[in-house]
């Protein structure tokens, strides 16, 4: 992954920075310029709580080459208490045990790397709460 593309996303990837629309209250993660719900352009900066619940999920048995050594792995859509939804791998659990409603915590992890010479790309993954 080219460094600038990765670096640009640091606020949301590293710190879960998000915004909440001042007009309609909808959270956007990552931050947007225009609210997708009401087209408002005034936002309040918020940080997402590093916890949430699973909305839906899958377990990947066939993965892109970069993730091939991690299969099978679970990926879920997680909703935070702020009402923001994000996609994340769900780790440190049996992938088959991931179900809707599962409470999770979001932890800082290495997400991907390009071989042994490229940059390391970090972000958040979910783990079952209390794991």
């Amino acid at each position: 992954m080219p460094s600038p593309r990765y670096w640009r996303e640091v606020p949301s990837r590293f710190r879960l920075e998000a915004v909440r629309c001042r007009r309609c209250g909808k959270p956007s993660f990552p931050a947007r310029t225009i609210c997708p719900a009401c087209r408002g352009t005034e936002f309040e900066q918020i940080g997402l709580t590093r916890e949430g619940t699973v909305i839906t999920s899958t377990v990947l048995h066939v993965a892109p080459d970069e993730f091939a050594m991690e299969t099978p792995y679970a990926v879920a859509i997680v909703e935070t208490p702020e009402g923001a939804r994000l996609m994340a791998q769900l780790v440190d659990c049996e992938p088959s045990e991931v179900k809707p409603g599962l409470p999770v915590a979001l932890e800082f992890r290495l997400i991907r790397q390009e071989g042994h010479g490229g940059i390391l790309c970090y972000g958040h993954k979910a783990v079952p709460a209390g794991a």
Binding site: V91, R109, L110, K125, V127, A131
Partner: protein, 348 residues
């Protein structure tokens, strides 16, 4: 007086048992468990490294301190497994923790001692008044060569310490360092696994430095082993710290709380700092604590700390070391372990 205002640890949730490693190499598991007092060790996932461990431990330290991360003026990470050969771990950790950009950051390396080295420097900067708060982290995802004795111990984990001058959870009463050039253990640039001098790592290396630093700090403070409630010595295996403590006059009761190695393994730069975190998880106000690290090459740093009345009410803000150590999620086969530790040759 300066001291610890926040602390935190992180231990990956996967484990491999010593008997599984012994089975792989046709070794006698019982003799390893009895001889080195190692039963199992933590194993990092493919997504865990010194940086992610540092972020988890550092976040817990900030949570316990309850301060604005922007007030942290320095952050140092000691590790012998920084993910990049060139490019700092610390920059990623400060961005993730919301520290900086007005912060001084450096990565340290001193074999297993780099963690207390980071703590030592952070403490000094706070004491000098140069910065208001400073964080020192020791973390590692160390590798032992396959079928080497180190493979039974080299594990993953770390701890972070935030130093300040107010609202202390533990006062730092004294420090003492003892350093000589002793090539007992090393890894050259580009080498995947470290090499070591076998039994040379014992008497002239570990014991010489641990005993000298510990005796030095006792002499400097005028304290006796019986004055301490807890003592933590670097844990390359189960046996060395107990023998060192015994030689110094400490009892097993003083050492057992911070003696995590039988189920955690040796977390290298994170070893004695994680042991100290386990002590802070249970220490009562006014308890005296001795911690002595050891890093091959070789040196030891000793700290004498005294728990404050604030410690018990703050420790509940983050997970305890025991809660992480005693609840692994998965025991790995050697094959899975080899895969997680990237010991299997793959094309790029």
């Amino acid at each position: 007086m300066a001291g610890i205002v926040g602390y935190g640890a992180y231990i990956p949730r996967k484990r491999i048992k010593a008997e599984e490693i012994a089975r792989q190499w046709g070794r006698d598991a019982a003799s390893i468990e009895k001889g080195l007092l190692l039963r199992e060790k933590s194993v990092p996932g493919l997504d865990e490294d010194t940086i992610t461990i540092s972020v988890a431990a550092g976040r817990a330290a900030l949570d316990r301190a309850g301060i604005d991360p922007q007030r942290v003026g320095a952050l140092y990470i000691g590790s012998e497994s920084h993910p990049y050969a060139v490019k700092p771990s610390g920059t990623i950790v400060v961005e993730a923790l919301g520290v900086g950009p007005r912060v001084h950051v450096a990565d340290f390396e001193f074999a297993c001692k780099a963690g207390t080295e980071a703590m030592f420097v952070a403490l000094g900067l706070v004491e000098s008044g140069r910065v208001e708060y400073a964080m020192g982290i020791g973390a590692d995802t160390s590798q032992g060569a396959p079928n080497d004795a180190l493979e039974f111990s080299a594990s993953a984990g770390g701890a972070a310490y935030l130093f300040g001058r107010e609202a202390l959870l533990a006062d730092v009463l004294e420090t003492y360092s003892y350093t000589t050039d002793t090539p007992d253990f090393w890894r050259r640039e580009g080498e995947f696994y470290p090499r070591h001098g076998g039994r040379f790592t014992g008497e002239p290396a570990y014991f010489k430095h641990v005993l000298a630093a510990s005796r030095g700090i006792l002499e400097k403070t005028g304290l006796k082993p019986k004055d301490f409630r807890y003592a933590v010595f670097h844990m390359p295996n189960g046996k060395f710290p107990l023998n060192a403590g015994k030689t110094l006059g400490f009892t097993p009761q003083q050492m057992e709380t911070g003696w995590l190695v039988p189920t955690m393994g040796n977390t290298y730069s994170g070893s004695s700092p994680t042991g100290l975190a386990a002590v802070l998880d249970v220490a009562a106000p006014d308890d005296l604590i001795l911690i002595t690290s050891f890093g091959s090459g070789a040196a030891s740093d000793s700290f004498v700390l005294r728990a404050t009345a604030l410690l018990p009410e703050r420790r509940g803000r983050a997970r305890t070391v025991r809660s992480m150590l005693d609840h692994p999620t998965r025991y790995l086969t050697y094959g899975q372990y080899a895969s997680y530790r990237e010991k299997i040759i793959l094309n790029d």
